[in-house]
């Protein structure tokens, strides 16, 4: 599948060195980050740098601290140590939230009151003009986000009436509605079928072509593989690999993907029936 759609960076796939597509301008800079949840030390000195224009995948087993890292980057987990700056601004002084689009790891809890797909996606637009009413440009951005994830025809349906994969697409559209420069997505592909993944990979490719920077948590690279510039692998709250994406496994293994890594990272957890 990936062979059928060689991305703009297909020629980089054979390289052993970490592929760099960034401009050198740091968008996310997390250094020596430590954080605890409850009594547990969940991050034990995480370094994560993302440059403008890069697409970085954050990989690791369940519980390795991927979500915590991402939530720390968007300021939702307090750091007990280390430094964070966004777009070159120390976190404490950072206010330009409209530049960031965030897709949280999906929680099963739907809200107590019905809401339409459009209403949920529109709330992503609040990052631009927090207290002013919706303008025409805002509506157009919401329409575009709905188109991008292929849910335009479900705009008036209740989100409670959607399947898990469709719900996930609503959350992605919500992040896209703010037209962010930096997309931070926690397992955006969870529960999305292959066709949906292809659609989202296409969306993401367009966004990246326009200069959007992407940090995303994944369990397997799947349809996104050709887009990924670099992979950061976490284990028990520590970075154990930062460089070229690990080779695809299982059914995603295709000829030409068998590049060798100096220190092979943990393979992504497969949840196939027999593995």
């Amino acid at each position: 599948m990936t062979a059928l759609m060689p991305g703009p960076r297909a020629e980089q796939e054979t390289s052993v060195e970490p592929t760099r597509n960034g401009s050198g301008e740091p968008v996310i800079s997390l250094r020596g980050a430590t954080a605890s949840l409850g009594a547990r030390r969940v991050l034990r000195g995480v370094d994560l740098g993302v440059e403008r224009g890069e697409v970085v995948a954050l990989l690791g087993a369940n519980g390795s601290g991927k979500s915590t890292t991402v939530r720390a980057v968007v300021g939702q987990v307090p750091l007990s140590g280390g430094e964070l700056s966004l777009f070159g601004t120390p976190y404490r002084r950072f206010r330009q939230w409209r530049r960031i689009g965030y897709v949280p790891q999906r929680t099963t809890a739907a809200s107590g009151v019905p809401a339409t797909v459009r209403e949920v996606v529109s709330s992503g637009r609040l990052s631009r003009g927090r207290l002013r009413p919706l303008r025409r440009a805002d509506r157009a951005a919401v329409d575009r986000a709905l188109e991008l994830v292929g849910l335009a025809d479900r705009a008036k349906d209740s989100v409670n009436a959607l399947s898990g994969g469709q719900h996930q697409r609503v959350l992605i559209a919500r992040a896209l509605a703010g037209e962010p420069e930096l997309l931070i997505m926690d397992e955006p592909m969870a529960g999305v079928d292959l066709a949906g993944q292809q659609v989202l990979a296409g969306t993401l490719r367009e966004e990246v072509a326009e200069g959007t920077t992407v940090l995303l948590v994944l369990h397997e690279l799947g349809a996104l593989e050709p887009l990924i510039d670099r992979a950061v692998v976490l284990r028990d709250g520590c970075v154990v690999h930062d460089g070229a994406p690990p080779p695809a496994t299982g059914q995603h293994a295709l000829p030409g993907h068998d590049h060798v890594h100096p220190h092979a990272p943990e393979e992504p957890i497969r949840t196939g029936l027999l593995t």
Binding site: V74, R98, V113, A115, E119, S123, L126, R130
Partner: protein, 300 residues
């Protein structure tokens, strides 16, 4: 329409209309956040405010606004910290508010059991001209917040973490919502009573959401239900000598049951009309090329 000629009835109806609008308009956010019980807590705390009003000789409604706002903000702070003992803290606030109110009313010179009961269960005949003015001002504030900040409050109640990442002042909005809920409770207490206020915040929303698909639509429908039951309940008590609060709440529950009975067949019809059929065939057919997988086997 003879009831419209009575001055006290006019005041009662104005109050009923304002309450029918404001209670569901605030309640929808509490229901969305699965905090439907919060209105009850505020009601308990407001009683202490009413009693303080009697004790100090100030207007009990204003005093209730102050004390219940403080209580609501305290409840919001407990919720935001997300501690596991949070519900114990809330329970303390409930019990403290109620018992404090009863104690203080008995200590005050012009407080009596009759007075207490009129606040606990509501009594429209006691709504004074001054009360109507106070209720009108407070209701205007509540409508301004719940309608004017709808998108912001919706986002905060829907997904608080996401709302924070959009840069919304989430803590401030939560406190505004808590104070607005407290104001609504005091607005409604003269007509429905502190013990039943919460019902008027929750039941119309619970009824409306069975027929709606969106938040704005649910809000509009819930307010329509709220208005219907508060006005018709108030008119009913003009002819039959029953407490207004209980009448209104029983009517709201009646509407809820009626809507529940209607919802299932309506949803079925809508599904048949709107959604394009997933497949041309009405029933599942086996694909000939596919063999059955072992999981399909149901023999023991």
């Amino acid at each position: 329409m003879t009831f419209l000629q009575d001055a006290f009835m006019q005041r009662a109806l104005v109050a009923a209309i304002l309450i029918g609008i404001t209670a569901p308009a605030v309640g929808i956010y509490l229901v969305q956040r699965r905090q439907a019980i919060m209105g009850d807590g505020i009601g308990h705390v407001a009683l202490t405010g009413v009693a303080l009003g009697f004790l100090t000789g100030t207007n009990p409604v204003w005093m209730a606004v102050l004390v219940s706002s403080a209580g609501a903000v305290a409840m919001e702070l407990v919720r935001a910290r997300g501690r596991t003992q949070g519900d114990i803290a809330l329970a303390m606030l409930f019990y403290g508010g109620m018992s404090g109110g009863v104690l203080l009313i008995h200590l005050s010179p012009n407080g009596s059991n009759a007075n207490l009961l009129s606040y606990l269960f509501g009594s429209i005949t006691t709504v004074s001209q001054e009360d109507v003015v106070v209720i009108g001002i407070l209701a205007a504030v509540v409508v301004a917040v719940t309608v004017g900040l709808r998108r912001q409050l919706f986002a905060v109640c829907q997904d608080e973490e996401f709302a924070r990442v959009t840069g919304l002042p989430v803590r401030l909005l939560n406190i505004v919502l808590a104070v607005t809920a407290a104001v609504t409770v005091t607005v409604a207490m003269r007509v429905v009573g502190l013990l039943l206020v919460s019902a008027l915040m929750v039941v119309p929303v619970a009824a409306a959401q069975q027929l709606t698909r969106g938040f704005a639509a649910t809000m509009a429908f819930a307010v329509a239900i709220g208005l219907t039951v508060t006005t018709s309940g108030t008119v009913y008590t003009y002819y039959v000598d029953v407490p207004s609060g209980a009448t209104i709440v029983v009517m709201a529950i009646g509407v809820f049951l009626a809507v529940t009975a209607l919802a299932a067949p309506l949803a079925k019809r809508r599904a048949r009309r709107s959604a394009a059929p997933v497949s041309e065939e009405a029933e599942c057919t086996l694909e000939p090329s596919r063999s059955r997988s072992p999981e399909d086997d149901v023999r023991v």
